[in-house]
């Protein structure tokens, strides 16, 4: 059965970067990135039986004030609408930013301000 065509990447927000509101210096916290993306594997067919072209996120870079937190170099098996969580330690206030790029060349980014008490 076919759905009416829907846009997969509507205008507006397509990601969340979640960090605690306020941190104490030295506190360990989770930063979680959630991206709306089909992570199309290239092994699925559409309703007409045609192969859907592969389009997975090829790279995700997370930085804090420009410094590398992590870089995803191969992300083949991430599920659709992936979520990635890592642990960081709050040393100072600053900007956490994520950038990503998929196989079709679409890019995305999101950032969040970290507020560290007294930092």
């Amino acid at each position: 059965m076919s759905e009416p065509s829907t846009s997969l990447n509507p205008p507006g927000r397509n990601a969340r970067l979640i960090v605690p509101r306020l941190l104490q210096r030295g506190e360990e916290f989770t930063a979680r990135l959630l991206i709306q993306h089909p992570m199309e594997t290239g092994f699925r067919r559409d309703d007409a039986g045609k192969m859907l072209p592969a389009n997975v996120i090829e790279e995700i870079i997370l930085r804090f004030d420009g410094e590398l937190v992590f870089r995803g170099r191969v992300l083949n098996a991430l599920s659709a609408n992936p979520s990635l969580a890592v642990l960081l330690t709050a040393q100072k206030s600053g900007t956490l930013s994520a950038n990503w790029r998929d196989q079709m060349g679409n890019v995305g980014s999101i950032s969040a301000e970290l507020r560290v008490a007294g930092g």
Binding site: E67, V69, R71, R73, L84, A85
Partner: protein, 156 residues
Amino acid sequence: MPSADRRALLHAAALAPWWWAALGPFGMAVHSQTPTADPPLDQQWQRARVERGGLSLDIPVVVETGTSVPIVLFADRLKLKSGIQIERLGVIAPKNPRPVALDVELGALMSQARLTTNIRLGASQSVIGVALLSDGTLWQHSVNVVLTGSACYDGT
């Protein structure tokens, strides 16, 4: 091994050369038809300085579908020799069409070498978590995951 599979594994290794050891010669070690019949991986990996080390791969051993399987990869820095860092974390799913599932480079800012995410699995298989240390050592931990249902679509 069918040449397509072999090509996939060679391709995987080319994408992430540091995994050559984990994949074994031409990926033979991690390729087999049934998870239980996997050859003893340890022998292959010991030759390439593969250690069980401080890596844990936390993944459910039985899942209903492979479309989204929660995983936590954790490499314990307390188990490192001094002066050595954990550089990369990865996951190999030998029976996925693309066996290199994940390869993530860690920056200095991560307070622990821990990554939490969800991955796809195309079949029941032995999923291998790997950590690459700055001295070239690989830590690995594999978990046999059984898929009870296929990721079938319901027509809507």
